[in-house]
């Protein structure tokens, strides 16, 4: 990877994080506080997008920027884990378990959906 590509990864990755921040806040402010709907929305929409991108035959550079940098940064594993751990700490055992199960089931289904869409394009 050359320096221009690395700079591109940084810039696009920064944009992905800002998008996550905005979507998370927009969703979380409209939904119940008791469940992390914001992160769930970000992660599931991101899984659809990455399934779509990986289903298209893109060049290495485009796949790196759009997939790894943009969508990779847009979704998050760390916040998903933190929010789940904090729910269980507050003895919200069912919301914590639901956050894991719903994310995993919808996550793989979302990636499949994205790939299916890519196949129709």
């Amino acid at each position: 990877m050359n320096i221009v590509l690395w700079a591109g990864v940084a810039a696009v990755g920064g944009v992905g994080s800002v998008l996550r921040f905005m979507v998370d806040r927009a969703v979380a402010s409209r939904m119940a506080r008791s469940f992390p709907f914001g992160t769930l929305t970000v992660n599931i929409t991101g899984a659809v997008l990455l399934g779509l991108i990986s289903g298209l035959s893109l060049s290495y550079h485009v796949a790196l920027l759009a997939g790894t940098a943009l969508v990779g940064s847009y979704t998050t594993f760390s916040t998903w884990m933190l929010e789940t751990q904090r729910l269980s700490e507050e003895r919200q055992v069912w919301p914590a378990a639901a956050n894991i199960i719903v994310s995993v089931v919808l996550g793989v289904a979302a990636a499949m959906l994205g790939q299916w869409i890519a196949g129709r394009l």
Binding site: A69, F77, S78, T79
Partner: protein, 132 residues
């Protein structure tokens, strides 16, 4: 819509840019292979979960409130370093190639290790506080 604090957005952008570069650098180390354990994604995710547990607990419970440290280190750096979408697509690839055990193992171990990392980092910060 919301009134966004421009400096907060810049903090998220800067942290996210750095996190994405670290993650992309890790991804360069191993070619994607649905028959193998995805070490780059796994490492980024677990390290990022530990760091987020550490930063969040320390910034919220120990240090004086700052407006920009949390968006930069938590939302930006840890959010950009870790990824959910790549993990799901990797799991889907494993399932498509009939590596069912690997797919289940990858999902279960990632979640278990991720939760343990957050728990450990949180306990570490809180233990230091109790001692003082």
């Amino acid at each position: 819509m919301f009134a966004y604090d421009r400096r907060e957005l810049i903090a998220v952008f800067a942290g996210g840019a750095l996190g994405a570069v670290f993650r992309a650098g890790l991804a360069e180390l191993a070619a994607p292979d649905p028959a193998r354990w995805p070490w780059p994604t796994f490492t980024a995710n677990i390290v990022g979960a530990f760091l987020l547990g550490y930063f969040t607990t320390r910034l919220l419970e120990r240090l004086p409130l700052s407006s920009y440290r949390r968006p930069m280190l938590g939302t930006g750096l840890c959010g950009g370093l870790t990824t959910f979408s790549t993990m799901q697509v990797e799991t889907l690839r494993m399932l498509e190639h009939h590596h069912y055990g690997l797919a289940i193992g990858y999902t279960v171990v990632s979640i278990t290790a991720g939760l343990a990392a957050v728990y450990l980092a949180t306990a570490l910060v809180r233990r230091v506080r109790v001692r003082r």
